[in-house]
C-alpha cells in the first residue's frame, strides 16, 4: 500500500502531500474566491446588525439575532412548514421515483423514449415550472379543476396550498431520483434474482429481500441529498405562492429572502441561514448515523 500515503506533513513536504496540493489547486482557487469567501462573510453577518443602506455602519451584535430568531413566531412557522415540506416531498419523491425506476428497468417497449420523457421536469427551467404550475392550479382555467370538477382555488386555500405545492415539488424532483435509483437497480447482479427464483421466492419477497438491501446505499445517498435540496428550496415555491396564503407555504428560505431583500435585514437573515444550516446538518447527521449503524 505504498502508493497511498496518509498525507501527513513532515519537514519539507512529502511527495504525496505535494501531489495532493497539485491536484487540489485548480479547484481550490475558484472555491476560495467565489465560495468560501462569500460563505464566511455570509456566516459572519449573522453576528452583526447589518442592514441595507448606503451609509450604514455595521456593528457587531453577538448573538442578538439568534435571540430574536428564537422568539420570532414566523421563524418557527417557517421551520415547521419547511420540515413538513421537506419530509413529504422527499418521501414521495422516493416512493414515486422507485416505482418509476422499477418500471423503466423492465423490458418494456419504447424504453428509450420513456426514459427521455421521464426527464422532462428536469429539462424545464425552474422559472417556467413555477409559472406553469400556477396555471395548472388556476381556479377557472386550470387543468386540476377541470379534470377533478372542483372549484377550489388551490394556491390560495389555507389548507390546500401546501399540499398543492408539495405535488409540484415531487414532480420537479422525480427525474433525478428516478435516474439514480434506476442506476442502482441495474447494478444488482442478476444471479441473485435467479437464485431467489429457484428458491421459490415470489416477486414481492425478491424485492424485499434482494432489491432493497442491495439498493440501500443508493437510497440513503439520494434521500439525504434530496432532503437537503428540498429543505433549502426557494425559487420554485416563491414563484408559485410567494409564501402565502398567510405564510402557509413560507419555507425557511423564503423567510430568509424576505428578511434580506424585502426588508433589508441582512444580519438577521444571515442568522436565519446559519440556523437552517445547523438544523439541516443535524437532521442529516442523525439520519446518516442511524443508516450506517443499521448497515453494519
Amino acid at each position: 500500500m505504498t502508493a497511498v500515503a496518509t498525507g501527513r506533513h513532515r519537514r519539507g513536504m512529502s511527495r504525496q502531500t505535494r501531489e495532493l496540493w497539485v491536484l487540489l489547486l485548480p479547484a481550490l482557487v475558484p472555491v476560495l474566491v467565489f465560495s468560501v469567501g462569500p460563505l464566511l462573510y455570509g456566516i459572519g453577518l449573522a453576528f452583526t446588525d447589518a442592514q441595507g443602506g448606503r451609509n450604514r455602519v455595521t456593528g457587531f451584535s453577538g448573538l442578538d439575532n439568534f435571540a430574536r430568531l428564537f422568539t420570532d413566531s414566523m421563524f418557527w412557522q417557517s421551520m415547521q412548514v419547511g420540515l413538513i415540506w421537506a419530509v413529504s416531498v422527499t418521501v414521495l419523491q422516493f416512493l414515486a421515483g422507485l416505482g418509476l425506476a422499477l418500471l423503466l428497468n423492465e423490458r418494456l417497449a419504447l424504453r428509450g423514449v420513456a426514459r427521455v420523457l421521464a426527464l422532462v421536469p428536469w429539462a424545464m427551467p425552474p422559472v417556467v415550472i413555477g409559472l406553469m404550475w400556477r396555471l395548472v392550479y388556476h381556479p377557472d382555467a386550470g387543468i386540476v379543476n377541470s379534470t377533478l370538477g372542483t372549484d377550489i382555488n388551490w394556491l390560495a386555500d389555507f389548507s390546500w396550498a401546501l399540499p398543492a405545492v408539495v405535488l409540484m415539488g415531487v414532480w420537479s424532483g422525480m427525474p433525478q431520483t428516478t435516474v439514480v435509483l434506476l442506476a442502482g437497480l441495474q447494478n444488482v447482479p442478476k444471479e441473485l434474482y435467479e437464485a431467489g427464483a429457484i428458491d421459490g421466492a415470489g416477486t414481492w419477497n425478491r424485492f424485499r429481500d434482494i432489491t432493497l438491501p442491495q439498493l440501500r446505499p443508493v437510497i440513503v445517498a439520494i434521500t439525504s441529498l434530496n432532503f437537503v435540496w428540498n429543505f433549502n428550496q426557494f425559487s420554485l415555491v416563491y414563484v408559485l405562492t410567494q409564501g402565502g396564503p398567510g405564510g402557509r407555504t413560507r419555507l425557511p428560505m423564503l423567510f430568509a429572502y424576505e428578511e434580506a431583500f424585502q426588508c433589508g435585514f441582512f444580519g438577521y437573515a444571515a442568522s436565519l441561514g446559519v440556523t437552517i444550516m445547523i438544523v439541516v446538518l443535524g437532521l442529516l447527521g442523525v439520519y446518516l448515523w442511524r443508516q450506517l449503524r443499521e448497515a453494519s
Binding site: 500500500m1 502508493a3 497511498v4 498525507g7 501527513r8 495532493l20 491536484l23 487540489l24 485548480p26 479547484a27 475558484p30 472555491v31 474566491v33 467565489f34 465560495s35 462569500p38 460563505l39 462573510y41 455570509g42 456566516i43 418500471l103 423503466l104 418494456l108 428509450g112 420513456a114 427521455v116 420523457l117 421521464a118 422532462v120 421536469p121 428536469w122 429539462a123 424545464m124 427551467p125 422559472v127 417556467v128 415550472i129 409559472l131 406553469m132 396555471l135 377557472d140 387543468i143 377541470s146 422525480m174 435516474v179 439514480v180 442506476a183 441495474q186 447494478n187 445517498a221 437537503v228 433549502n232 426557494f234 429572502y257 434580506a260 431583500f261 441561514g273 437552517i276 444550516m277 446538518l281
Partner: protein
C-alpha cells in the same frame, strides 16, 4: 397480465411527468382569445404561429440560447476538469485537508445561496467580472463543484486500488500512468457529472439575473421572465413558445446521453 398493468402504470407516470410539454406546445399555438376561455382545450381550435414570431422576434431567443449553451458547455467541462483531480485527491488521500474539503462541500450545499449573492457580487465586481459570461461561468463552476466532487470521488473509490498500484510500480511518470489506467473506468461517471453540471448551468437564473445586464450577454432563463409582468400576469403565448425552445435542447441532450448515464451513476451513487 402483469405486462399490461406495467404498461398502464408507466403510461400514467409519463402522462404525469410529460404533460407540461404538451401543454406548452398547445398554448404556444393558441390565440389570446382562446387562452382566456373558460374551458381550455388541448388542441387549439385556431392554431397560430404568431407567438413564436413574437417570442423570437422581440427577445433575442436564438442569441440567448446560444449564449446559454456556451456557458453551460464551458461550465460543465471546466467543472469536470477541475473536479476530477481534486476528487481523485480526496478519494485516495486522507487527512485534515480532506475533512475540511468535505465540510465545505456540505456547508456550501446547505447554506442559503440567496444570502451569499451580495458578497459574491461584490467579489465579482472587484475582479471586473460583472456583466460578462466569463464571470458567470466562474460562478457556475464554483457552485457545481461540491456536487461534482461528491459524485466523482465516489466513482474514483469504486476503481480498485490494485489497478493503480500495478500501473504505478515503476515510479517514473507515476501520475500519468495512473491517469491512463483510471480514466477509461471513470468515463461513465464523468459523463454523468457533465450532465448534471450542464443542466444546472443551463437552467440557472438567479445569479445570471444579478450579474448580466447588457442585452448582448443575456442567457435564456433571463429572457423567459421578460414575458411576465407585475402581479403574475403573463403573456402566455410567447412565454410558452419560448419555454418550449428552452426545454427542447436539454431533452435532446438527455436523449443522446441517456445510455451512458445509467452505467455512470451506478458506480458513483453506491460508493458516494
Amino acid at each position: 397480465m402483469r405486462r399490461i398493468s406495467q404498461y398502464a402504470a408507466l403510461l400514467l407516470y409519463l402522462v404525469f411527468l410529460a404533460f407540461p410539454l404538451i401543454w406548452m406546445l398547445s398554448t404556444s399555438l393558441k390565440t389570446p382569445q382562446e387562452m382566456a376561455s373558460l374551458n381550455p382545450a388541448w388542441i387549439p381550435r385556431e392554431p397560430t404561429l404568431a407567438n413564436y414570431a413574437d417570442a423570437f422576434g422581440e427577445q433575442d431567443l436564438v442569441g440567448a440560447g446560444l449564449r446559454s449553451l456556451i456557458v453551460a458547455v464551458a461550465s460543465s467541462f471546466l467543472t469536470v476538469t477541475v473536479a476530477l483531480p481534486a476528487a481523485y485527491a480526496l478519494a485516495r488521500y486522507r487527512g485534515v485537508l480532506k475533512r475540511i474539503a468535505l465540510g465545505w462541500v456540505l456547508v456550501s450545499q446547505v447554506f442559503p445561496f440567496i444570502l451569499i449573492i451580495i458578497p459574491l457580487f461584490m467579489v465579482m465586481r472587484e475582479l471586473d467580472l460583472v456583466n460578462s459570461l466569463t464571470g458567470l461561468v466562474a460562478v457556475h463552476v464554483t457552485f457545481t463543484l461540491p456536487f461534482a466532487l461528491w459524485m466523482l470521488q465516489g466513482y474514483v473509490r469504486s476503481v480498485p486500488r490494485e489497478l493503480e498500484e500495478a500501473a504505478a510500480v515503476d515510479g517514473a511518470g507515476r501520475m500519468r500512468a495512473i491517469a491512463a489506467v483510471v480514466a477509461p473506468l471513470l468515463a461513465p461517471g464523468v459523463v454523468a457529472t457533465l450532465l448534471f453540471s450542464f443542466i444546472s448551468s443551463w437552467n440557472e437564473f438567479l445569479f445570471a439575473l444579478v450579474v448580466l445586464k447588457d442585452p448582448d450577454v443575456m442567457t435564456l432563463p433571463l429572457t423567459l421572465v421578460r414575458f411576465t409582468g407585475p402581479e403574475g400576469v403573463a403573456r402566455l403565448g410567447p412565454l410558452a413558445a419560448a419555454s418550449l425552445a428552452a426545454t427542447i435542447p436539454s431533452l435532446i441532450f438527455f436523449a443522446i446521453i441517456q445510455r451512458r448515464l445509467r452505467s455512470g451513476l451506478m458506480a458513483g451513487a453506491v460508493k458516494g
